[in-house]
Symmetry: C2
Subunit: 231 residues, 2 copies
DNA sequence: TAATTTAATAATGAATTCATAATGCATTTT
DNA sequence: AAAATGCATTATGAATTCATTATTAAATTA
């Protein structure tokens, strides 16, 4: 049957919204390089928009901390510093811990199912040594836990912090050893969630994040010793 | 002596930055009423700016969650709902707890001194039944603790959440009884900070916030029963 | 008289234009 | 030859304009 009831309303995001998403992705994926200027005009031409929505998007991303705006000198992609990283991680830790607690309380069976499924897919990638795939599923699991927590504000806040470090996290390759450890930690995460042991889950998540942090920290330190070519 | 060394560079914030701050204040102070439309053109005239920086500011505030943008229908001041409040408070709780821990670790003697001083000023307001003054100092104390934590990202994140509920918090008048209790809690906060008892401080801060939440919650519920006149 | 349609008005979204600030280059001066 | 100054070019910030969409008021019809 086809009634008018179950039609989803047309929802066309405004240009500047599409642009913010698009640019955010470009930053995370490294299309826009950290430290480099954002060529406003060039981007407008490439993406086929005028400067107004582009500038609105830049302002939003700057407020998000992904860009810095230098008056009359345009925007630069903000490179994450070690100092900033050391500020962001404890914050993310606190939020993950909270997410864990809430997820244990509120997760529906369906949401647990989703976590389980993604966990399995992630394991498969690990066994196949598929690092990009692993990262993708890894991210999905953490987002699924956030979802299960059922607190949209928490999700939004967490994600806006996560974006900032995601690129560094992606670039910082794990050792095989660390990778194995991370997978083990994920097993613990899943089982704590299954048994709805809030205290345990929240502790593991925090620890898991701290371990990740150590890896990324090391990578940044190496970066500073062997800086990439600048133009 | 006057060398060229100790000159501070001229830093003129761009128009849209000034505007975001200005509008944010107007929202918190209730000049822009929750639920009402933001009269874009009128504001432009009153503040003597063109629409471009105004629109950029609106986009930023919308990304911050203070406004909602309805395509082709402009911006509205976002009224905080009970649902949202119940999402925001646990988050703020987690952040306050973290701030407490970090403050106990990192606070300098000078920063402690600042907290003490503000605490005293707040007490004076309480004794004089000066509610607005109390609120101002109360806010300053919590900001001073954030400062003492020495994590700028934490401060920024916390404040962006705090703005959303600040207006509701301000409007929700406390009973005399609750006010006394809040003051007592503040005594505990100060002493935990003095003795740098991280666990204790973080627990008290969380509890303190939960109590505040209960008051605001009650207020919102009453609001829903006796809604203010709409036009 | 009430409801529905149509027209007029107001306001928003996006593009264009204009003004101003910054950068690079050439010329001049020491 | 090196440094500094002035000029030209380029890019950004802000205002204005144009086109589209929503809201309202009015008019017509049932």
């Amino acid at each position: 049957m086809s009634t008018l009831e179950n039609l989803s309303s047309i929802n066309r995001p405004s240009l500047h919204e599409e642009l913010t998403d698009r640019l955010r992705t470009m930053i995370v994926e490294g299309v826009l390089v950290a430290g480099e200027k954002v060529p406003e005009r060039e981007l407008c031409e490439k993406l086929g928009v005028s400067r107004t929505p582009m500038r609105e998007a830049l302002k939003v991303l700057a407020a998000d901390g992904l860009l810095t705006l230098q008056p009359n000198r345009g925007a630069r992609v903000r490179a994450i510093t070690l100092d900033e990283l050391e500020e962001v991680f404890p914050l993310m830790g606190a939020l993950e811990a909270l997410a864990g607690e809430l997820a244990c309380k509120n997760a529906t069976e369906k949401q647990l199912q989703a976590v389980r499924k993604t966990h399995k897919a992630m394991l498969a990638c690990f066994k196949a040594s598929d690092m990009p795939g692993y990262f993708r599923y890894n991210q999905q699991i953490h987002e699924a836990i956030l979802n299960a927590a059922g607190n949209k504000t928490l999700t939004t806040t967490y994600l806006s912090l996560a974006v900032r470090v995601r690129r560094a996290r992606y670039l910082a390759n794990m050792s095989q050893q660390r990778w194995q450890a991370a997978v083990d930690e994920h097993e613990l995460i899943l089982s704590a969630l299954e048994t709805r042991d809030a205290g345990k889950l929240s502790a593991i998540l925090k620890q898991h994040l701290e371990n990740k942090f150590a890896t990324v920290r090391q990578w940044i330190l190496n970066q500073q010793d062997n800086p990439p070519p600048q133009e």
